[in-house]
């Protein structure tokens, strides 16, 4: 049975789609057959970040409404053999996303021997977000080190523990992981950002990783390459650590301390 992981946050612009792309790619790079589904019906971003926007013919809604089958709609990633993308529809209305339809798609993917299904949730707490999380086994809650993002993540965590299939049917609860993105230790030290400890004190779920704030993320998404492919960048390393921890490897957190600045840099300023 495929393991379903929802990437969610409540707030928009915190890095859900970036994380979905890199997380799914990372799983596939380890040899696991993985599908990543864009649930942001009406907006569609995942295919851009994955660099497959020109190959989208059929999307999730076409499959749900029976206008295409999964084999037609799944887009095979060019860089990873085991990775498939199911894009969102840009022209449909979000009400086209039905619970039975989503359940069938997830079930059929499981029957196609997918090991992991990554659901990229839209922002907000409406249908799209509820559908993305409903059948999840695990959740990556993406949070930025700022108050509003933490508050929205808290709201989403409440919904994960009350509105999802596992919660409603009284099964084992969804395994929740906290992923902090856009973390800048220097700005934390200057008091401009919440610290890891502050965030964990409020959310109190297990931290799976910290992705540092970096220009390479923007660069990667403009090129249509998942950030995990940016060899040698700290973001790529951080995402690989996340995959390791997800697979049960115990790894210390990296990129959480501000780099020590040399005397000259401190005197003359610098970035």
């Amino acid at each position: 049975m495929a393991r379903i992981i929802v990437i969610t946050s409540g707030k928009g612009g915190v890095g859900k789609t970036t994380t979905s792309a890199s997380f799914a790619t990372g799983l596939a790079m380890r040899g696991h057959k993985t599908a990543v589904i864009d649930f942001d019906v009406g907006l569609r971003n995942l295919d851009l970040i994955m660099g497959c926007e020109r190959r989208v013919v059929y999307d999730l809604i076409n499959v749900i409404q029976g206008e295409a089958n999964l084999n037609q709609a799944l887009i095979k990633d060019k860089q990873c053999d085991n990775l498939y993308v199911l894009a969102a529809s840009q022209t449909r209305d979000k009400d086209a996303l039905t619970q039975t339809g989503v359940e069938k798609v997830l079930h059929d993917l499981g029957a196609m021997d997918f090991e992991y299904i990554v659901c990229d949730s839209p922002a907000g707490i409406e249908t799209g977000a509820l559908m993305a999380m409903h059948f999840a086994d695990e959740a990556l809650v993406v949070t930025n080190p700022e108050v509003s993002s933490v508050r929205d993540s808290d709201r989403i965590l409440g919904m994960l523990s009350s509105k999802t299939k596992r919660a409603i049917e009284g099964l084992d609860p969804i395994k929740e992981h906290l992923l902090i993105t856009r973390y800048n230790p220097t700005r934390v030290d200057q008091g401009q950002m919440l610290s890891l400890e502050d965030i964990q004190d409020i959310l109190r779920i297990k931290l799976i990783g910290v992705i540092p704030e970096s220009e390479s993320v923007l660069q990667a998404s403009n090129q249509g390459v998942p950030a995990v492919h940016m060899q040698g960048s700290d973001v790529s390393e951080a995402y690989k650590d996340v995959i390791d921890r997800f697979m049960g490897v115990d790894k210390p957190m990296r990129f959480t301390e501000a780099p020590k600045q040399g005397l000259l840099k401190r005197l003359f300023g610098g970035k």
Partner: protein, 268 residues
């Protein structure tokens, strides 16, 4: 024992039923004006189906209290008010403190007469510490629902052991509430009795939701957005004293008749 009453026509005690004395907890609607339409409009705005808290009441029995009105005021038609109250999930059953004319009108529309409110002496609150940190409140609000006749012991304490996160709400109807995990900002805990939070309390906490002025709030780490006891509230806009902010503390109402919120550190 066979329960055929037909075979025992002379039986003095019927076996099919028994009449026993019973009591019912009620909420009271204390009228402050004899303008029934104005009351109905205000109630509808606050608790009606399209208000912010349409689920505040859950088919609660209600007594309409006329005792604050001048007995000389003209009798108004109760029917529109009753309609509004029912639309707010209230079940008006009785009237008290009304003038004979108003009472007659109420009886005519099917309400019963309830005895006037009995003022019970409040139990004396023993001093917790020689010099407690006393914090008084500047915003005092009395809600419409204030007095409650509560004689029946409520159900046992409600215990919640999962964290309450933003947007979640728990109501311990007619009992105390014990929360063993944090109550985050944006979450709401409400109890008719006391509220105990053995973790940080960062959201809203409302104890004595039906007017029990003896209810208290306890937390191991008091940093709430809002605290309220029997409708007397205080928001975090007005910061707590440093002696209690983020500390183990309790909140209660003063028992001097002023009904001020007193927030004091718990001494161990």
């Amino acid at each position: 024992m066979p329960s055929s009453s037909a075979g025992q026509p002379a039986s003095p005690v019927p076996v099919t039923f028994e009449i026993k004395s019973a009591q019912l907890p009620l909420v009271a609607l204390l009228l402050k004006t004899s303008d029934g339409d104005a009351v109905a409009a205000d109630v509808l705005q606050k608790f009606g189906p399209h208000s912010e808290s349409p689920d505040f009441f859950d088919h609660d029995a209600l007594v309409i209290d006329f005792s604050h009105l001048d007995p000389q005021t003209p009798v108004f038609d109760l029917v529109p008010l009753l309609k509004v109250l029912r639309s707010c999930s209230l079940v008006p059953v009785a009237v008290r403190g009304a003038s004979p004319e108003a009472m007659a009108a109420a009886l005519a529309v099917g309400l019963v007469e309830a005895p006037a409110e009995v003022h019970r002496p409040r139990p004396v609150v023993e001093a917790i510490a020689p010099e407690p940190v006393v914090e008084t409140v500047r915003e005092v609000v009395h809600e419409v629902v204030h007095e409650v006749v509560r004689e029946i012991p409520g159900p046992p304490t409600m215990v919640v052991d999962k964290p309450l996160r933003s947007g979640q709400k728990i109501y311990a109807r007619g009992c105390d509430l014990v929360v063993l995990a944090m109550v985050n900002q944006g979450a709401e805990v409400v109890a008719d009795g006391n509220i105990h939070v053995y973790a940080p309390l960062r959201g809203k906490a409302m104890a004595g939701a039906r007017g029990d002025t003896n209810a208290r709030i306890f937390s191991l780490c008091l940093e709430p957005e809002l605290i309220s006891i029997a409708g007397v509230y205080r928001t975090s806009e007005n910061p707590l004293a440093p002696e209690v902010q983020g500390k183990a503390a309790q909140v209660r109402l003063s028992n001097d008749g002023q009904e001020k919120l007193i927030i004091e550190a718990l001494r161990t």
